[in-house]
């Protein structure tokens, strides 16, 4: 029999709040964190807004020398992890060689690469920062977390675009279930508001260009949706084997009872038009959890606010849930915090757990014009009180990656 896995700590840094309480309040109340970009001059780009964490000052969290040697994405990872680890009281509670880390990112240290590439071209190879490589590699967040906390268990990173967060959660879950570790720090981080990233996503027409109303730009499932909103931040969870957590009196926030991952094997960026990959992955995750579709009370949708995703995800939800698709509560919290790319599913896991704990479904804001292709109950604009025993969180990414996690309320 598989070992049970529970969540004993959570941390988040997002455009709508630093720390779980601030983040959750914004998500629950539908207070958008989207704003005009200020960390770089967005003037040359067709999209000039995003989910920027404008109030983040690294010196509130790190010494000066330390901050300079960490890319923004690693800083976010460490900030989210510190909150999750502190809350779980795992440091000292579980042997360090039984605690591992799976922490990913879609892109890693893009801003470091851009700065140092500029130095290379302007000043030559002897002027690049000796810390360039360890600052930019995607796995450095996982490495830094282990170094700072002394966690000597299995340590790695996942890189799968916007599915990264769920893959990290799933890998951590399996690592504990099979006995390779008793606890895993899992999550993902992204600092993707950079020149090359803005240029790249813009030229492929993936981003909303609603520059005159940034807070209304992320509108999943709404007929007027015109692309996703590029955001930054990180989410972290402490996963722990149930008996270990119970014995040490850890704060148990929720249980993770199912996970599945698959691939569309279809196209580099477009989902299967009929939602085939998404449909299969949700069915596999429900089977892994031993649940029927009607057992699910809340779905934290991938819901990116792109034409293709929201339509395909809706088609998949209808297939998987049948009649129950109209009863189950659905929302895309990306409407509030935007799309954190690799970190998206990690912060959405925090939102799903808080929704379960409080019995409140966070809204999909900016939902004003129904789309005939997206005709389910997405909890438009205002939160809804709703008891939640089981919730799922979807993530789909460029490359055709799909992953779904199933959460259960801990009573």
């Amino acid at each position: 029999m598989k070992r049970r896995v529970v969540i004993t700590g959570m941390g988040v840094i997002a455009p709508c709040g630093i720390g779980v309480p601030a983040f959750w309040e914004s998500v629950r109340e539908g207070k958008s964190g989207i704003k005009t970009i200020t960390i770089l001059d967005p003037a040359p780009y067709p999209t000039r807004f995003g989910g920027e964490i404008s109030d983040f000052n690294p010196l509130n969290f790190f010494e000066k020398v330390e901050a300079r040697r960490l890319d923004r994405f690693a800083q976010f990872a460490l900030v989210a992890c510190r909150e999750a680890v502190t809350g779980s009281r795992i440091d000292g509670g579980v042997p360090k060689d039984r605690i591992g880390v799976v922490f990913g990112s879609g892109m890693g240290g893009f801003s470091t690469i851009e700065e140092q590439h500029k130095r290379l071209l302007e000043n030559g190879p002897r002027r690049v920062n000796p810390f360039l490589i360890p600052m930019m590699i995607v796995n450095i967040a996982a490495g830094e977390i282990a170094i700072r906390h002394g966690f000597k268990g299995p340590n790695t990173s996942m890189v799968s675009a916007c599915t990264t967060g769920n893959h990290c959660i799933g890998f951590g879950l399996r690592t504990i279930q099979c006995g390779d570790a008793d606890a895993m720090i899992v999550g993902a981080s992204e600092a993707g508001i950079t020149h090359i990233s803005l240029a790249g996503f813009s030229i492929m027409r993936a981003l909303s260009t609603r520059n005159d109303a940034p807070q209304e730009a992320s509108r999943p499932f709404d007929k007027g949706r015109d692309g996703f909103v590029l955001s930054e931040g990180a989410g972290a969870l402490v996963l722990e084997e149930f008996e270990t957590a119970r014995r040490r009196g850890a704060p148990i926030l929720a249980e993770i009872i199912g996970y599945a991952a698959n691939s569309d094997a279809h196209h580099i960026t477009a989902p299967c038009p009929d939602g085939d990959g998404a449909r299969s992955v949700m069915r596999l995750a429900l089977a892994d959890a031993g649940l029927k579709p009607t057992d699910i009370d809340y779905i934290n949708a991938h819901g990116t606010s792109t034409q293709l995703n929201d339509k395909a995800e809706t088609a998949a939800l209808k297939d998987v849930f049948g009649e129950h698709a109209r009863q189950v509560r659905i929302s895309s919290t990306k409407s509030v915090h935007g799309h954190l790319l690799g970190a998206g599913a990690a912060v959405e896991a925090v939102a799903a757990v808080m929704a379960m704990r409080e019995g409140v479904v966070p809204p999909t804001i900016n939902y004003t014009n129904p789309d005939p292709d997206c005709d389910l109950n997405y909890t438009p604009n205002v939160k809804a009180a709703h008891p939640i025993t089981h919730a799922i969180s979807n993530a789909f990414g460029f490359g055709g990656h799909n992953a779904t996690v199933v959460f259960k309320k801990y009573f």
Binding site: E63, V65, E66, R126, R127, N129, P130, F131, P134
Partner: protein, 85 residues
């Protein structure tokens, strides 16, 4: 530039890049043993000294620059020879 001016500028570079107290950065302080620098930090210091004083430290000299004082002496000799030429 006097010896003392060079020393103050080298100390500022070290203070800015290593996590150490200012009074530890004496002329005899060893980067590796006394100031806790690792090899990457040492490279970073060398590059910073090159930029600060607009000079190039040959690779075969770098390993000899083990203390703050040796860096100061090296900079002094470079500046002196550039003035002479």
């Amino acid at each position: 530039m006097t010896h003392d001016e060079i020393l103050q500028r080298v100390r500022a570079i070290v203070l800015d890049r290593l996590d150490v107290k200012k009074d530890k950065i004496t002329e005899t302080a060893s980067f590796l043993d006394d100031l806790g620098a690792d090899s990457l930090e040492l490279t970073e210091l060398v590059l910073a000294v090159e930029e600060e004083f607009n000079l190039k430290i040959p690779d075969d000299q770098i390993e000899k620059l083990t203390t703050v004082g040796r860096v100061v002496l090296f900079v002094e000799s470079c500046l002196a020879s550039s003035h002479n030429s």
